[in-house]
Symmetry: C2
C-alpha cells in the first residue's frame, strides 16, 4: 500500500485524474489551472453541490469505495436531471485521513470515472486534502440546458397529475439488509453475510442510477412537466417540497405507490410497512413530477411512469389516501423515523 | 445555545440563508430547488472548489468562526480573480458535528454573508450535514467572463516580466504569531495573548482579501497578462505552476520580493528568513502574473505591482537570484518545510 504522503498534493491530483477523458465540447479548461472554464454555448448553467460524511452518509464497513465514488456522482447528477437539464461537468472535493492509502483514493476515483463515463460528464476540477479523521466528499455537478427546457419545483397547479418514475423503497430496504448483515459480521466475523436473493435492492442502495433517460422520454412523449424533483429523501418529503414551492397540496394514493416485489417481501420479512419505506426511505433517485391533466393520455400506460396522485388547492393539504379505507393520513416531513414509529 | 437538531435540514438551510440578497442579474434560481440556475448571458463560466478541514486548514482555538466563513469564500474568489474573471456566485457545503450549536453556524454564515456583500457574489446553493467529528467546509465559486479576458496559467513566454501584487509573507507570519500565542494560552490560560502591534499580519492571516480590484486596474493600464495564478501556496510553488503550464523557466530576484516591514521584523523576531517566508508561506492571496516586455512602461512605477523577475527558456530552469551574491538557488516546490530547513 502507498501512503498518500508519497505524492505531493498536486502530484496526487494529477495521478488520480490523468486517465479521465472529456466528452463535452463545453469543457474549455479542466484541472491544472486556478479554475475550470466552461463554454455554455448559449445555454443556462445548472449547479448543485452535496457534502457526504463518513459515518453519516456511508459506512465503509459495507460500502465499497468504488461504489461510494460512483454514488456520490450519481446523486448530484440526479439533481441536475431533476431540473430537466443535461449534466456536463463535475468538481470533486475530498478530505481524507492519512489512514487511507493511495490505493483507496484510486478506488474512489475509479467509481467517479465510471459514473463520468456512464453519464458523459467531465471531471473538470477538485481539491484533495487531508482530514484529521474520516472521509468527507463534496461533489459539485454542473449541467447545461436551454432555458425553455428547465423545470422547477414551483410550477405545479391544482388538478395536475403527480407522476413518479421506476419503483420506490428499494434503496432503503437494501440498506436494512446491509446493516443487518454488518451487525451479524461485527458480532461474529466468521459468519458469512446472507446477501443472496437481495441483488436488486442491494444494487438500488449501493449503485443507484440517475434518471437522465427521462428527459428524452418526456420529450418524445411531448410532455413538459409543470414541476419536478428527485426522490432522494423519500416520496413524502419530496411531495412536501413540491407543495411548498408550487403552493398546492397533493393527494397521494397508497395503492398506486410503485414498489418492486423484492422491496415488498423484504419489508415484510423485517416487519416493516412497505409503503412507509417507500414514503420515507429515500435514496431511490427516481424523479417525481407533475404534468397538466391534458397530458394524461400520453403517459397513462407508459412502463417508466406511475401516476400516484394529483395536486389540489393548497388549503386542502397534503394527504396519503389509504388503501381500502380511503382514510386521509397527513403526509409527514419528519422522515422515516417518524413514519416507522407510527406502525 | 440552540442545538442543530432543533431545526430540520431544510429548516436549518432556510434559517441560515434567509437574509442573503442577490446582486447579480445572472442569478436565475437560487436555494430552494434541486439546483441553482445561472444565466451566463453569453459569457464563459469559471468554476473552482476548495475543501477545508478543521485541524488541517484552520484551528478553531484561535480562528473565529466568522473569519473562517469569510476566508473560505475569499480563497475561492481569489481563484476566480486569478483567471481574470468576475466572481458572481458561490455554493457552500458544510459538514459539522453536533457539538456545534446553531449559533456557531450563524457565525460562519455571517462571515460568508460579509464576503458575499464585499465581493458582490450571490449564495445560490449548498448542503449542510452532520459529521461524526469536526467541521469540514467546501466552497464552490463561479465566475462569468468574456472569453477574450480570461487568463490561463499557460501563456507566459520567455522574456515576459514576472509581476506580483501587494506584499508577501504576511499571512504566514500572522499564523506564526497566532500559533505562538495559542501555545502560550494552552500552557497557561491566565496569560493574556500578546497580539498588540501585529495587526497587519494577523489580518493578512485571519481576514485576507482577494485581489478582484486588479482586473480593473490592468484594464485601465491596457495590459492583459500572458499568464496568471494566485499566491495561495507561496511564491515559489506558484512560479513552478506557471513554469509547468507555460513551459518556460523563471528567474526571481530575491531583493525584489515585496514584503511589509512588519512581516520582515516579525520574521527576524522569530529567527526566520523573511524571504523564505514569502517564498514558501502561502495564503497571501495576491496575484502573480506575467506581462509582455512591451508593457513594462505601463506598469513600472505602479504602487499595486512589483516586477520580481522574468521568464526564461524552460531549459534554463527556475531559480532565485540571491541578493548581493547573485548566486542561483533552485526554486523548490516542497513548501515552507523544505525551505525553512535550508536555513
Amino acid at each position: 500500500m502507498t501512503p498518500i504522503s508519497a505524492y505531493g498534493e498536486f502530484g496526487l491530483i494529477k495521478h488520480l485524474t490523468e486517465n479521465f477523458s472529456f466528452e463535452n465540447s463545453s469543457t474549455e479548461i479542466s484541472i491544472g489551472d486556478d479554475a475550470a472554464v466552461i463554454n455554455p454555448e448559449g445555454q443556462m448553467v445548472v449547479l448543485t453541490t452535496d457534502i457526504l460524511a463518513e459515518g453519516v452518509h456511508f459506512n465503509l464497513g459495507y460500502v465499497p469505495l468504488k461504489h461510494l465514488g460512483y454514488k456520490a456522482v450519481v446523486t448530484n447528477i440526479s439533481d441536475i436531471a431533476a431540473m430537466n437539464a443535461t449534466p456536463t461537468q463535475i468538481l470533486v472535493g475530498l478530505a481524507i485521513s492519512n489512514r487511507f492509502p493511495v490505493e483507496a483514493l484510486e478506488e474512489i476515483y475509479a467509481g467517479i470515472a465510471l459514473a463520468c463515463k456512464r453519464y458523459k460528464v467531465d471531471l473538470v476540477g477538485g481539491d484533495t486534502t487531508s482530514s484529521t479523521s474520516g472521509l468527507v466528499m463534496s461533489i459539485t455537478a454542473i449541467g447545461l440546458e436551454n432555458p425553455e427546457n428547465i423545470v422547477k419545483r414551483s410550477g405545479a397547479k391544482a388538478n395536475d397529475l403527480l407522476v413518479v418514475t421506476g419503483d420506490l423503497g428499494g434503496a432503503y430496504m437494501g440498506l436494512q439488509i446491509l446493516e443487518r448483515e454488518h451487525s451479524v459480521y461485527l458480532a461474529n466475523p466468521n459468519m458469512q453475510p446472507e446477501m443472496e436473493g437481495y441483488d436488486y435492492i442491494l444494487e438500488r442502495q449501493l449503485k443507484p442510477e440517475a434518471r437522465t433517460d427521462i428527459k428524452k422520454t418526456l420529450k418524445e412523449l411531448d410532455i413538459k412537466p409543470t414541476s419536478m424533483i428527485d426522490v432522494s429523501d423519500g416520496l413524502s418529503s419530496e411531495i412536501l417540497h413540491l407543495s411548498d414551492q408550487s403552493k398546492v397540496g397533493f393527494h397521494l394514493y397508497e395503492e398506486k405507490v410503485p414498489m418492486d416485489s423484492l422491496t415488498i417481501s423484504t419489508a415484510e420479512e423485517l416487519n416493516l410497512n412497505p409503503v412507509m419505506c417507500a414514503l420515507s426511505g429515500g435514496e431511490d433517485y427516481e424523479l417525481l413530477f407533475t404534468i397538466a391533466p391534458k397530458d394524461f393520455d400520453k403517459i397513462k400506460n407508459h412502463p417508466d411512469f406511475t401516476i400516484v396522485g394529483h395536486a389540489v388547492d393548497l388549503e386542502q393539504g397534503n394527504f396519503l389516501i389509504a388503501r381500502g379505507s380511503n382514510e386521509l393520513i397527513p403526509l409527514n416531513a419528519q422522515g422515516w423515523d417518524a413514519f416507522l414509529n407510527r406502525q
